[in-house]
Amino acid sequence: MEIQINGIVKRFGEKTAVDNVSFTARGGKAFGLLGRNGAGKTTTMRMIMDVFKADEGTITIDNQKIDRKKIRFGYLPEERGLYPKKKIKDQLIYLAELNDMSKSEALESINHWLDKLDMKQHLEKKLDTLSKGNQQKIQLASVLMINPDIIILDEPFSGLDPVNASVLQQIVFEQIEEGKIVIFSSHQMNNIEEVCDDIIILDEGKAALAGNLNQIKDSYPKTHIKITGNGTENIKKDVEKHLSAFVKSTKISELELDIYLYTEKGRDEILDIISKGSYDIDSFRVVKPSLNEIFIQTTKGAEQ
């Protein structure tokens, strides 16, 4: 199963919130929808869930129009919140019923997920009597209890402590294993990097960058070289002396030397120096850019 987003556009009055965005998210893989605040992530997600109609473009699943009677969306909004003054059981059943589940189905699923999240003892409590972290777990249960086909998580890791974050990550992996489409939205890149295969970076409503994360990283110039070992001090001196035309900057800390080049040129020359001299080194590698670096470059570059 895959969901195809095809050239969607959404305007609010004069402002174009989402401008001709296309991507495909596949089942069994996590998709990262990235962008700064106000880049159009939430609007895109709302269009996928048919909260807003796209002014232009199409959204299809396996090239078919989305039939909301068959396709269930599990949505964890960035601004979390359910009914603070209502019993957890009552509101979860309500949300499940709104997703066309029967009451008994709902109860069974609710019990399953609360058990899994270690929250079963809170079933009869009011939501606002729980700690913030536990409220988040309840919200997560509300997403998963309906057994969604497509899971959309907006900033799922924000506000979670490390233990709960890893619980969430584990659950997300399980859902991906089951072949579900998982769409992540975040501006915290480290989590996305660990989970997502494909990404799109939105900037002011437009797709600034899209594709397979590894391919994107490969496509970036390999200008960052990391050398470790005892001889890094000497390598730094020699590289700066002989290769100043290629080297933009160097950084040394403990036994690690980072060399940043202007272009991809210079890597072989550095290797040359190392092989000719008798330095004591443990490793030499070309560092791929992190998603964080790519993100900053992409969104900043578009701004200028």
Binding site: R46, Y75, E79, L82, Y83, K86, L95, L98
Partner: protein, 414 residues
Amino acid sequence: MKKFFTVFKFEYSNLVKSRTFIVLTLLVVIGAGIGLSWPRISELVSGDKETPVEEGMTIAVINDSVYDDELINSTLQSSMPEYKISLIEGTQDDAREMVKTDEYGYIIMLKGENEYTLVTKSLGIDNSLSYRLDGILLYNYRSYLLDNAGLDAEQSNAVLQAQMEYNLVETGKSQTNSLLYTNMIVIAMYMIIIIYGQMVATSVATEKSSRAMEVLVTTVDPVRMMFGKVLGIGTAALTQVAVIAGSTILFYNLNSDYLATGFISTLFNMPAETIILSILLVILGFFVYAFLYAAVGSLVSRIEDVSQGVLPITFISIASYMIVMISMPSGNVDSLLMKICTFFPLTSPYALVARMAMTDVGLWQSIGAVALLLVTCIVIGYLAAMVYRLGVLMYGKPPKMKEVFKLLKDSRKS
């Protein structure tokens, strides 16, 4: 449609199961029960129907009139058996002093043929004593005059006790009877609109401020959500009214022997058509307002902003309530103002109820008026739904009226 019922059921059962709702309903039912059983209870407790002589309620009489003490004493005592009449001597200053020191509650100073002064601390608002005294002493004076004119006791009694035979044929509605129950209906309508209307606004704003809305809109169409909510809360209100009305009627029937003559009985002898029309109008009136409240609730982002946001609506509701309440006792419910109010959507629920109950609006006019209100209700419901759709995902400062209209126009274009 299924989702509409899910929302409806959720809102309804949430409200009906809430402690406040149950306690409030019970309190009113108990209050009505005690109130309607009171004549029976008080009779059981006191054992007989006569009101006991109030202690300290001695009426002192200073007699400087042409009548002899014996006559005055026997006349007053026989006409006012619950008071003790006692003849004393003294001046007006003495009388003031005696009342001040609580020696007597009332002192009557009789002078000449037809003059008297009543000295008391405070007559109070509801005190009928002076009217009764007027009557008794005037009767006495007239019989004295007739006596002087040469009539014997029998003749003068015949003159004094002569009465007109009175028959009443009302072709329209009896306003004396309808005033009371119309009052009740208008008050009930006002309370339902204010209490439950605001509840609609608060409920919407709670979903928004708690961000539950973010999830809800992904599964339910906002318009269905709004109608489900308004109908759910409205039905809960209706349930409450039905429980209260039902138990009140039950209590009335249990105690009807003790209440049949009182003004309360007029309440329970409402014409069936008035009841049906009133229920219809109260329901329509509630929806007209509830839709507006829902729209306002969808536009504010925080609970704190609700009370300010609903102020214009509440104000209109209070104003129309006041206009109707002021017009009703005068009996002039067909005045120009009331007629205008009948056709203005927001005042019409109140004005229609009053006019239909108190005057003969006529069948076709009634149907026309209800139809007009129904159309109004649908139009306002439609507009509110459009605002709601826009409002539910809009956060930040509540927009001004002008901005809302602009947004509506923009959204229709796209």
